[in-house]
Symmetry: D3
């Protein structure tokens, strides 16, 4: 077979493979946690934003939850303040909170700006708008680390009304405490809470790793699909540990709360969202419940 | 680059290319004239029906208009009646009309059956149902050739209500005359009339040729996109002639009546509909108006 | 009283009698099984079609289910094939099924044509369209008689959407098996299944008898209204037997499944539908449940 | 033909005749001016109210406008006040107006009571409710006759909202002047004004005559249908004069303002409304515009 | 502080106090029993009607139920008939009923007239219209006192449809018995029954007393808010007795049936409705349930 | 009259005065430009936010557009950058813009936080969200002053969808240029542009002056209502000049573009919004068009 025909063949197969997913995801809410390297490299940033805009254009309902830790540290530096961490969490006094809020809102509006530039409507909010992210104070082993919050409740009204009016909500991880003060929230935790609250079909984490590998040092051992049972087994067996552990626990909890598939993707690969969502094999790791493993078209095999 | 990465690359490109088309065609009506070889080979038939079902599943509104000439001749033979033609049109006396109607309805219901088997809803009608195809008697150079009709008016109510209720309308080319008799209608003409009446976005003819070629004997000279102006020029210059001529004239008229793109496809190529609709180059010939040549995403280049 | 005044009196009484029925039936679904002599005589055919069209015009929702046995035999004869029957059921091999389908669809579209000619919208479907009549293979005392089906399920979506869009559905009794093959279905059984599925108010069988008579040979013994209890009693007592038996059992089952009144009418009497539906005495036999015997206006006697 | 069959025949014809009218009048507004003998005889009153209730039940929208002159005179007598008339109009001082209003409202609520008793919803209003009948003071040849009004404007909001909520509006002819005082209005004039304002299909006057006769002394010369042109001719030729003249002028004006048919009926005939509305010949006189003489079914003869 | 600033201060406080009530009452139904002195003095009448119109204008849904006893006695006198009472209830023979109905309807339409004059839509009905007030015959200690009724059932359809179409319903207390005769109903009882049936937020009685006072002779002992418990206690302790007793029992029953607050107001004070409804202290006595004592804004103290 | 009665009187008058305004403003959009002293004093801030929340609670649709100049200067100072101004406009280089954006978003979210704390829903956006404020680069007498923008177009979709979903939009004056960069916009100009675009009923500027005074040094010469004609005259006559001039020109332009009343209020007076909006005299200056000077209730004097 000549090269042209082979390309045509791959194209036809790609379409045949992708179309049923596109149908299954139409009008579905898809939460994307955006952070890490994919946020620092402007070319990768453009590729991610373009993918998200495409998802919107073909009828899905993407929601972005973003981080911004490195940028916060940079601005704290500018005003001569050092960043302090306890167990990976930023110690957040009132002034740090003020700076964090300013920086996260700036990052937030920049993402909005990029999406608008692609001709797609976006609106940037933080968890204080519409009382979206309500939280309580978090402590670390009894130690007070300031304005750091645990998400207690997600009020989805504002997110839903933005979605219903065709905007992509872009959410900065700042919460509102019972004392009506601002709290800093971990972006992974915020994304997961939002996904559960709005009944998202998918939750995708853009990370700096390829996914879950049997051997963390060999990307050829990447696992494409992981059931809850298997994931828990791997934790028990020690295959998943270190920084990976809280991330996977986050995924497990989201799936247990009704999110159909949670994806861990390598944000450093261009168009990773499209390749993961619209091909059978994907390019990262998908975590699924045992009993809801398949999409309708996979299950019914309507179109073989 | 290794083969796997190349495949990934083609996949990503295919998706990036296809998604904007998918957006542009959502909720759009697409008329497919189905006939010729693609109808006689059961594997091709399956490929066509599967493509149509997929179009429906991802949010488009396909309508099938089919022929059935060879099958009519076969059944006329069974009851000992010979088929007669004048200038390519079947001479249709009352008995022939009765047989034609029976055979076309049988073909019609078989297509419905195949689509239903794929889990997609379909409903088979002829031009008499709902008074859909109203026609007058056609004569050939003054000669009476019986119950052969010209479409005068398409009453779109029934087609629209089927579409609105999520059925794929499958239409047999039988019309209702002013005398409330049945008339035989050329399927190409019927498809074209329906496309114009319902404001179709696309009209695709599945044929036994590859498309329009500069040199009819060399498929490498296939023209992917043809503007009206160019098409008329090619007719004047004699590049288009013979059996191709009425077909192209049909296409030109459809475009002039508001159908955005008319496609001439080789029905013998598997998944020809998907490849033509969702790739930039396509695999057949698309006829377009000079001034409405591009789809929004092509024009605005929202997503580069 | 002079003749003119007497006529005026009958007219006034007829209207006073008819109007509450007209109110009670507004927007109600009425299934008419059309077959037998009323189908073979063109004057009777015209009278039936006109009545059905009138029902539609004044706000009811008629549905026609038709037969066509004699016509099938005629066409089988044309291609030199003899009709065979086992216990009154046509033995249906693949070729017979093909012919039956062609003939029934022709009959179907002719009825549509007649209704359209009266300015009323109609659409002809068979049980394969929209998967409307799903069936399993029927055997006769263990004997295989080919493609003859029992209705297992009626998918009412297509019928309902035609009704909602103001079409009279005209239904040919062809079903879709689990093997996605075509099956021949008894028209009485099809009509009854449709009436039950769509929640019809009435089901009327146009037959070649006057109704149920205490003495089958004396039309003066015609019973106007028969409760289920009485009908069953008459079966037990042997008053109902022979070809009448399955027909009455069919009626009983329909009433037991929620159809309010099932009528057995003499299709050979002109305007039998109007006279049965809109006069208190009617002209055939109505089978009703004991507990739902009366229409609101009969029960409440709002208008005396 | 035996008598039974003849009755059946008349019934079938009556239904065939009536059904298209019933269709044509569905959801149409029909104003009935109720007064004269039909109001004083309790059996006739019952027949009229029953007809009106039936019209409502089968989907029309009847509105009653009633008089009550004799009852007003009776009650004025009770309080020792004599009735005075100028050119047939009651001289209405403040006390007379107060009594007239009390009496008309009593008559009004009694009609409501009778309709409610038939299980049909009714609501009694006068022209002051919702500012329905706005009027100016009427003078007779310059002479002041007190609170007697000309209808200047009909505010249809209240009538329409009662109709939309399934009530039969029963209207007493009392108006609201620019000075926000009560005015006595002629019931024929009020009925005509209401019919024009709400776009009534029909306006029927229940009177004490049979209709328009060529020879007023010979009821056999009754004219069933009268075009505007003919009616005006008859006035010019002196066939219509005396008390008939203002009534016919009222009818002419209503037709000229868009009411399709105005009927003059003999309220002393039982069920006169049904017989006039639902038979071709009717029993009174219908006044129609030349150009809108026929109902759709009469014109198109869809159902012959 | 100078006088101007003091006035400004009171104004600001009045608004701050009133606005949350206005919000809480928006779209709420408020029944006003109108009778007594406030009905006989034309200046007070104007003040009451203006208040009711204002309530409507700012988005509430007032309903008036009125009395008319003194006017009935006056007209009975005019026709030489004496009024008789048993235990405060008018003995109502057929003629008395006829007069009562006429007079109440006259009063009713006069109120409508006054509201219309303020540019607000009103419609006057009695309990017979739409079968609104259905009643049974009332006897007094076994004694027959004629057409006097107990409300058994309120059919709210007509009231609701008037409200939904932006009319203020004005209701005369005449009921429809099971015998479809007219019955005289106590206006307090009618108002209470209507308030319960339509789910009114408030029921206000305009009376000739200031409210409930600890010492009936000292208006300074007026109780602003009375819980059910306290009201019952006061009855037990004899503080409430005489003519006040049935009125308070009426209030208690209304609150127990879901009316949020029942107010007893002095109709002789101008704008008593506005001052009672929109100030915290009010000017009369409000009876409330213990558990639903506070409006949302009082409870939540959203706005301090 | 004793003091209590006088207070009651003022309360009744205040309500009578206020209610028609409340009706007229229901569902109307009211833009409030919030800045200056009222923003720096926390007690005043609370009073303003409470007034805005009340407006929302009683059915109006307030929108806040805020400034934040002093806060920006403060933060520029923190990072060691001096503020520069040309003709009162801040010279805005890239770093200044970055800081301005961060600070304005912080102010924005704080306002949201305060409103949420009162139990009212709010959402903070800037002009980049939803492409709400599109602008071009502003120059001052040809001099480039950096990222300072003129509003060219207001895309109201996002504002409208927030309002429709019951949020108070809080808008930071940052715009999106044609180059998709952020631009600093004057808050007065932004408020005015928004008011015009969304068809606001009112636009209120909270300032540090009492309003327009004939003698700027004597607050007793305050003008309550100013027609366009009068305002222009005062400019011509030199009564309005200096910093007041651009503000008044802004008001004039807004009125000329369809905003019904533009108010200049002294933000230092507590509850200035309520007193201005709901009393006839108000406490600041209202600018109105000559021909649309009065609200319906003022004009028609429905309620005298």
């Amino acid at each position: 077979m000549d090269e042209y025909m082979q390309e045509i063949l791959i194209k036809a197969q790609t379409l045949i493979e992708a179309l049923p997913y596109i149908r299954d995801f139409t009008n579905k809410k898809i939460v994307i946690k955006y952070g890490g390297s994919a946020m620092l490299d402007s070319k990768l940033e453009e590729s991610v934003i373009k993918d998200v805009a495409l998802l919107k254009l073909i009828g899905m309902k993407p929601i972005i939850v973003h981080g911004g830790g490195k940028e916060i540290s940079k601005w704290l530096g500018k005003i001569g303040k050092e960043s302090q961490f306890v167990k990976g969490l930023r110690v957040t006094d009132a002034e740090t909170m003020e700076v964090a809020e300013m920086v996260l809102n700036k990052v937030n509006k920049n993402l909005v700006q990029m999406i608008e530039q692609l001709g797609v409507k976006a609106a940037g909010i933080c968890g204080k708008d519409g009382g979206t992210l309500r939280c309580t104070k978090k402590t670390v082993e009894g130690e007070d680390i300031g304005f750091v919050g645990n998400v207690e409740y997600v009020e989805e009204t504002l997110i839903d009304s933005l979605i219903d009016n065709d905007f992509i909500p872009v959410i900065a991880p700042i919460g509102l405490g019972d004392d009506y003060q601002s709290y800093n929230i971990n972006a992974d935790e915020a994304a997961s809470a939002v996904a559960k609250a709005i009944g998202a079909e998918k939750l995708a984490f853009l990370t700096d790793i390829e996914g879950v590998c049997m051997d963390p040092n060999d990307s050829k051992t990447l696992v494409s699909v992981l059931t809850l049972e298997k994931a828990k087994q791997m934790i028990d067996d020690g295959f998943i540990s270190g920084g990976m552990l809280p991330k996977i626990n986050n995924c497990i909890e989201a799936v247990e709360n009704g999110v159909n598939r949670v994806h861990i993707l390598d944000g450093r690969k261009e168009h990773c969202l499209l390749l993961e969502f619209f091909t059978k094999k994907g390019i990262g790791t998908a975590i699924i419940d045992d009993h809801r493993a398949l999409y309708p078209h996979e299950e019914e095999e309507l179109v073989k």
